[in-house]
Symmetry: C2
Subunit: 469 residues, 2 copies
Amino acid sequence: MPNNGIQLYYRNALADAVGAEHGVASAELDRLAPRIAEIVERIEHERKAGKRRYRDLPFDARMLAAVHDAVRKHRPGCRNLLVLGIGGSALGNIALQTALNPPYYNLLPAAKRPGPRLFVLDNVDPVQFGEVLDLIEPELDATCVNVITKSGETAETAAQFLAIVDLLQRRLGPAARQRLVITTDPATGAMRRLAQDQRIDTLPVPDGVGGRFSVLSAVGLFSAAMCGIDVDRVLAGAARMNDRISRAVLRENPAALISAIHFLLYERGKRLHVMMPYAHQLKDLADWYRQLWAESLGKRLALDGCEVFAGPTPIKALGTTDQHSQVQLYREGPNDKVITFLVAEAFDRDVILPPRFSEIESLSYLANVPMSRLILSEQIATELALVESRRPCLSIRFPRIAPETIGEFIYLYEAATSIMGLLMNIDAYDQPAVQLGKDLTYALMNRRGYEARAAELRPKIALDPNYLV
Amino acid sequence: MPNNGIQLYYRNALADAVGAEHGVASAELDRLAPRIAEIVERIEHERKAGKRRYRDLPFDARMLAAVHDAVRKHRPGCRNLLVLGIGGSALGNIALQTALNPPYYNLLPAAKRPGPRLFVLDNVDPVQFGEVLDLIEPELDATCVNVITKSGETAETAAQFLAIVDLLQRRLGPAARQRLVITTDPATGAMRRLAQDQRIDTLPVPDGVGGRFSVLSAVGLFSAAMCGIDVDRVLAGAARMNDRISRAVLRENPAALISAIHFLLYERGKRLHVMMPYAHQLKDLADWYRQLWAESLGKRLALDGCEVFAGPTPIKALGTTDQHSQVQLYREGPNDKVITFLVAEAFDRDVILPPRFSEIESLSYLANVPMSRLILSEQIATELALVESRRPCLSIRFPRIAPETIGEFIYLYEAATSIMGLLMNIDAYDQPAVQLGKDLTYALMNRRGYEARAAELRPKIALDPNYLV
């Protein structure tokens, strides 16, 4: 338990705190402990057999060196960095940026920013995309574009890539290729071939690491390092979490406790897993978690082939903001949620509230108080109010928001996801259900090879006016 | 059914589309129709009795004139607008801005923006707040601050207000008050008194309109109009929806259909109500909806006093982004969701994908295709894939994203919330469960009058190190 590392606090998810009906009993944890020990050991075995490659990323010095090389080459003179990616090729990048760079980073003058402006484009909205093109257009020769797609097939990323490359080539000619960095499969796929043909710089999406587990690879680290984030410290943080999440003893392993508590409560019908950061900087970690948890654990089939339609629904909330939006429901609605607070115990900056208008009772208690004390008090108050309503709560406590603690958090939740997958007896690493949507999109877009699908689709597309109101 | 208005499409939530187990049968709708007729009529009666004041806002010419007067006074020379508010005093403002102004609005040079930069500060994170102070500091005399709090008691808004007023007064002296607009209760409360004492301009939070129903009042409209949004057209859109949501015939009333379908499916265990816009501009409407639906419908007590712990959990998703994050779960996880797509049938701008690299098969199908076709195809594909997995889906179709259609949407969902409250037999207009968190916060902050609460709290605050891992 490093005294400057993040910690899990789990008492408020226990029966002692929220009652036997809604909390986990100590005895339940004890009964689950041997299974957890087996699972943790199984994961360690899988890892040694080269199967849990995401776990090796914090120790991958070669990968880190490649990221630094690319940054050394592309950062000088770079005023805008565009990341073209979606899902696991965007959410980690966004989370690192929000956590470890100043809020309103893109609004700061260049001299106050530790790197280029960052635009992570994880959609294909033409209005939004067109606006980005306008924004970077005057500075195209100072713009770096990082295209991230493992397969090279992702329609959204391919579309963005075409539009941007065209713009670059029309303006810069053959020099356009120098503005690109393609992060893709190390050996195969359309983007790998294209990069080779066009002599475009590349970074690898490591073999055996799925998109949602890839933030600690070049996928997430290149844009972070370009923007001045100390990615060595992020990896060091993840690495120092390694020992804690490898322990076979349930009560000593925070990843195992997170999984065990969520699993036991899931089995009792609490299938909504809310993550509620109390810090602006931590808010996009909740979106990253949302993909990790949903896509890993939402599965129709168990490992034995039985149809189970399993999966908790992760939900993003934000304190204090959502106290004024969701807490009414969280306290009085169905007791179907487990709420995990992310708590920043200290902030890098504070605002002391001045003693103005202190003759007014509803303002006087704020005089000379640091704003950090208000947000921390609101977190405590919200957690206690939820416990009062017998709603189970966890918290992850950040002694400080820093590269190391963010690295710890990422690695902790990745490990918790692996354990949760085995507790739920599902495959946490595939995503079979996204293929159909991709195929139907290809069919609607007249991609070659999808003609039969397109013919099937045609009668299903038209809206029936009888149901349009 | 105005041909340029928004429309609800509901066939994919019916048994015909997703099967009897997961869809609503026509006969079920027919059985519910008389109750809906009663409810719609009851709401019209309540309204005539002055009880559903939010319904009158689109027709409130006096309120609108007051907003325009304030804008005329405060807009000249204004380069930054800060909104200090939280929950219902922020979510509507953010939604209007995202929907009706360009993406990356704050990054645009002043000449390309229709108004001042807008910062809606709906949190009390000291790092984020401190950064905003730094950003506006060089332009304080060109900054307008709109403080929104009905009661004047909201701790977050009060804290922000103190910090900003202090900054303004230190820099501008007595002229500071000219930079403020306080939106608060028309007659009572700390902020009303303060505004009178200090001769600060005010706008009213209308009597009888709860925060989450207030976006079409001065609460939401002042910041929108300051930023160049045509608020008359927003209200005109809402007004033209009025007739449709007042109809007693279920199948002619889109608000009634939204409520009826969600209610029937809620009763069958589908308690997660996902809103998934397929347009960047519509994304923050989902956060606005999240408050409206959660805080209105999440209730412990039924109107008859029975304990029911009712309430659907609204969830925000975003297309296409969340196809790569949540759709795996939505298709294969528990069939416990109703998914509502927000579809923009046309975009104000398009990007034609150039025919580059068209020798590469995975890129060639995109050549010469407008990006809007890709996002629209992905929406259709996702909806069909969900229907294939028997997941009920609705869609709200925007012929165009414009002030009128946004106004329609807001008013439609407010009306649907009223109807849903009566179907669920709960009070959709109160929020009793948020008080405890506020009281505990006051106690932790040593506010006068909360000493007993503070004494009670003291033993509960310390973390038990046995549960810290």
